[in-house]
Amino acid sequence: MGKQRLLLAMIFGLAIAAIVLISATPTRLGLDLRGGTQLTLQVETTEKIPTLTETDLEAVQRVISDRVNELGVSETSVQILGQNQLLVQLPGVSDPEQAQRVLGETAQLEFRSQRPETNQQFQIENQILQQHQLELLTLQQAAETGNQSLLNATTADPDNTPVPAELEQQIQSVQTAIRESNRAIRELFAPAALTGERLTDAYAQPRQGGNQWEVVLDFDAAGGNQFAELSRNVAGTGRSLGIFLDNRLISAPTVDVRYAETGITGGAVISGNFDAEGASDLAIQLRGGALPLPVAVVETRTVGPTLGQDSIRRSLYAAIVGLVLVLIFMAVYYRLPGVLADIALVVYALLTFAAFNAFGVTLTLPGIAGFILSIGMAVDANVLIFERTREELRSGKTLYRSVESGFYRAFSSILDSNVTTLIACAALFWFGAGLVKGFALTLAIGVVISLFTAVTCSRTLLFVSLGLPQFRKPELFCPGLSTTAPSNS
């Protein structure tokens, strides 16, 4: 009996730990529940790159991540999906139009020379842009920390304390201003003379005699000539050579007068004001931008936040009503063991939910359905055991032995049936897409945990209660059992 008591203590310890875990960690909700936009991007091959490698995909992922960050949405994620797709998640975005536009464009690196007589204008526009960017940064920080003092320091009106919605509007207007300003700067440059297609490599290296870094660009033969031409044209004029990534100016170096004769040959070096990280970031961007891989938006799914909350509420009702119905059924039909199985079932629900949080499972609508269904699986194991116990009781065995052989005999059925369900889950998980995976994962976690709760947990509870004389009555296990049947008490 000592062992059973110990197990009982362990089970309740686990249940309490589960409750603590559930209340301490937030449940990760899928976009279909919290609202937001999910886009699937297909990376397409070109004649030059007929097959995609992992590196290609990662390079595209980097470019896309940068663009997603530009959108100013928090908690975004960009994942590689299979061989040629990217999954972009934008929580809280209920208007996917901007995202679709920005993400669907091909990453494009361009070298353009600045138009003559625009130096002053360029400086002004650049200052405006920098100001906007600073503003945006402050606004985003304010939005994140909720700290209004930062904001007040930079806005003209100190009494202006915007609520989050206003803040969001401000962020949007600043973002629009930044786009405008980028466009204005673009106007100051001549059309592209050289594009990233000609770039063969870009890497960061430390600058000689100093702790600054620079970015080295290598072109193919034709690109080298074009670059020499381009740099010769602006050399010594004070005009800059604009390097544009996705139509945004990322660097505008000027070319020294000594290149006025020949232009820069044998590749280019961008020596801006870089530290090691900045230089390597730019090199990555250039390499990524240089990859002429078109990206197409092949799937978008947007769920408004209100709809998501509605789904959560409905599935919560469904889970609770379903669980209560099952609890009542078990207690009425199976009496004492049914009540004990109900306790095991509640422990099951707690442990499974805690496991979702512990493993960081993202809960989606089909995932919740999987969880509700796994309750059915957990009950099935107990039904099998109790039916077997009743059979043994009817055949005249003692209560204790009946319970024992009920568990023993039913186990092979329970194992087989759970393994076959796990096989179906595994097939769904490996081959299924997005939502389907969530369902398979929650159902599988549920099945595994139900093996523990329905067998170990309810077994312990039963044997502990068999140790108490008031529970040692066969009629509590099997109503209508003939009174001549021998009992253990």
Binding site: T306, L323, A369, L373, V383, S417, T421, A424, V436, L443
Partner: protein
Amino acid sequence: MKLDIIRQRPFWWLISSLFIVASLIGMVISWQQLGAPLRPGLDFAGGTRIQIVRDCTQADCTAPIDSADVRALLAQQGLETGVIQVAGDDGQSVSIRTRNLDVDEESTLRSALATTFGPLDNQSTQIDSVGPVIGQQLFASGLIALIVAFAGIVIYLSVRFQLDYALLAIVALLHDVVITMGLFAWLGLLLQVEVNSLFIVALLTIVGFSVNDTVVIYDRIRENIKLHPERHINDLVDDGVNQTLTRSINTSLTTILLLVAIVLFGGETLKFFALALITGFLAGAYSSIFVASTLLAWWRVQSGQAIAGLPEAGQPVEETP
């Protein structure tokens, strides 16, 4: 209650056959009318679905949205073939399904909707846009998952039981899958119900659950054969089914209780999912009790293994005193 299932076998098989034939007819008609055995939803056929809700704090919500107005608006956009469904409380919500729209077409349509019916509640908007590539991909991955699950189950059951148990269990599974598909073929024909990737999930769950039922019964039959190798398979199957009958019914009942809760409270998306599961589980419980078991008995008799205890030819006969 004791079921005499072996003797009543023709009756049980007849019922199953009728359901399967009806299902196949549904799928064939559907194939002729729609080009697919089931009405493919957005996930498989591709397209764009936009669901908008009027913001009643600002908009005039005295009258429900008129689908004729929506139709006219779609016609202006060159989207006459779109499917319109007015829904929600007091018809203040409308769902429009069209061919796959690109960003520009989509935003034009949305702003047109906003000007005509708005202002709209952006928090309740739902937009799904699935390209043809993804549609095929979702379908193919679902089909592969189904096939792999079948193969995995056959292998596991062949190892744990014997090959004939495994194959007959698969026959019972196909029975359940076909009947569920048949119901949705008819629903698609009569009520325009579409199937999406959740339907594939439902089919796989049905496979997982109904193989459960079959395994439990087979497990019992196998145990009976071990205990009484001298008895005829027909009697052993009869016993096995009856011994597990309460369990089969109770388990199906509890699961269906959960599913009914989903149908009642679970919201639009999960309703047909739960309906598919209910159908499949009922068919699964039926096929386990009446089809899988009787098929096993029939096959064992046909292949001359009616009595497991009979010594096989060529083996020395044990001496009996």
